[in-house]
Symmetry: C2
Subunit: 335 residues, 2 copies
């Protein structure tokens, strides 16, 4: 084969925002697959806020990326060579293939996807981790019910756009919080959110009071910080706060800001619950099937924000933390 791989290996644990020198961009020969292995050429690689946490040392829901290891990343790719009877050359697959051109896999947590049914980027977007996160977070953790008011922060992000659309599909009132007029217009006009709040120009607490006169039944939080506090201040009785992420806090160098308004949980008998989508792995197929049905029925739209070139990774990742992406941010490695 004599293939050459390029990829990012973790060089340092970042302090604050990650920078290019926190990784080494390496060129390495690709080794032949061993017995039971197969070789994947990555086509699209997912960029996720969670990556920032994976770079930290210490206990979490998943082991940190070790110094020197390939940066962890979800990707969709094509099987190029295989010594695993379950995977054939030409198969399209998703898995934790890392921030690199080629990956060897033994098939653990790898799923085949059908490039004829949907464009490949969707399998790491609305029908991938982001979509599944929205689905289980809203319906299982948040227990959103028809007629309830659902508020979503990071509403124009990969998870937010799906969460808001599922809320509408389920008969909820959907209010999105996003930064800037373009995102707000997009979620309201194109995705059908009932209201959009621009946190960069509005008083979020006041705007939530206006758009949620009966209080918030489900708050799906992707951002943490002041917006989480604003939502808590408007929680309805028995309201649920779904802790999906806290992108405003991941790069803090002075520690995480906890929600000062958490006693709203006490006075409203509210519940704040976190989750990681991996725990629902046994139900991914079921959920993806339902979501694919919604897509085919035109009820669920996907949107990807695709940047070309693996080598742009460190700078492209920062787009997430600057809130520059609309929809699912990913890198296109190859056609």
């Amino acid at each position: 084969m004599n293939l050459v791989n390029h990829g990012f290996r973790l060089a340092a644990r970042p302090v604050g925002l990650p920078k290019r020198s926190d990784w080494n961009y390496v060129e390495e020969p690709v080794r032949e697959p061993g017995e039971g292995e197969f070789l994947v050429k990555n086509l699209y690689i997912s960029l996720d806020p969670a990556m920032r946490g994976w770079m930290n040392e210490g206990r979490s829901y998943i082991a940190p990326v070790e110094i020197g290891a390939v940066m962890r990343a979800m990707a969709v790719g094509r099987v190029m060579a295989s010594k695993n009877p379950s995977f054939t050359v030409g198969d399209h697959v998703t898995g934790m293939f890392g921030m690199q051109e080629y990956a060897l896999s033994n098939g653990t947590s790898v799923n085949k996807v059908d490039a004829k049914l949907a464009p490949l980027p969707i399998y790491i977007g609305a029908l991938g981790g982001a979509g599944l996160t929205a689905y289980f977070g809203l319906l299982e953790v948040g227990q959103a019910k028809a007629g309830e008011t659902v508020v979503i922060s990071g509403a124009a992000g990969a998870v937010g756009i799906v969460a808001g659309q599922i809320a509408k599909i389920k008969g909820c009132q959907a209010v999105g919080i996003a930064g800037g007029p373009e995102k707000c217009r997009y979620i309201k006009e194109e995705l059908g959110f009932d209201a959009a709040i621009d946190y960069k120009s509005e008083d979020v607490t006041q705007a939530l009071r206006q758009h949620c006169p009966k209080g918030i039944d489900v708050y799906f939080d992707n951002v943490g910080g002041d917006i989480l506090d604003a939502a808590l201040a408007n929680l309805a009785r028995y309201g649920r706060v779904v802790i999906c992420g806290a992108i405003s806090q991941y790069n803090n160098t002075s520690g995480i800001k906890g929600p000062s308004n958490y006693l709203s949980l006490l006075v409203n008998h509210g519940r704040m619950e976190g989750f990681v989508v991996f725990e629902y792995a046994a139900r991914y197929q079921e959920a993806a099937r339902e979501m694919a049905g919604w897509m085919m029925a035109g009820k669920l739209k996907s949107r990807e924000d695709i940047v070309e070139g693996l080598e742009t990774f460190p700078e492209t990742l920062l787009r997430l933390f600057r809130g520059e992406n609309i929809g699912k941010l990913m890198i296109k490695v190859s056609d």
Copy 2:
């Protein structure tokens, strides 16, 4: 009758710790009960951390005490005169009779209690609001199960002592956090907690790690602040945090400290849920009966911290915020 009433009427909304001048101590004639009313002479009046919140303006689970109104307080008393057919002179009753010697009531949310079955103070302590709070908080909100590790802060307080004993009755491991060696000795030696952590002399995060090697399944929080963060740092997978109170925060003048470690909910699929005992009112009788059974079987001990004299109220209340009480703090008004 020509009775004279003494009591505390709210004079100002406190900033920080309440002080005597935040109330007026007034002397007023007692009016005769009207049709459907009865007159109660308060014997013991309950002092609760929640009183501090009732003095604040603004939306909560209950309306604030208005300026000029008698300070809200739960009490146990004796019926002295009655024009209500359901209440007879000599009946002992509990209710929101206020921080005063005499109260007129129409019977709303008033319960008769039997002075022969248990000493009257118990009816506003372990068999009253504090005990019911512990019962529903631990078992309904916290869903504590046999074999689980339960951690309780404010463990030597009115709610904490009952929560820890119920945890033991239900077959849980009970770890209490309290301030000072006397409280720690008391909950461990006399109440049977498995371990006691003195937050004044120990590193709570480290001590929790030691006493809860498998993590905390249920954390019953009465205090908030740094201790809540220490518990979150030690949460087990699917751990529940019961937000019962936050006594460390009620008198803050610089705002409430939110739990910086709340993302532990995300990585552990934890749940943080608040409650107010009033919502379980329909089940008070059932719970009180079960707890009375435990008391008679010697499994549940009560403890009261009784201060004599209504007029000591402003200073006695501060004992709660200074952590000076063990068990249920109350004022004895009369024999």
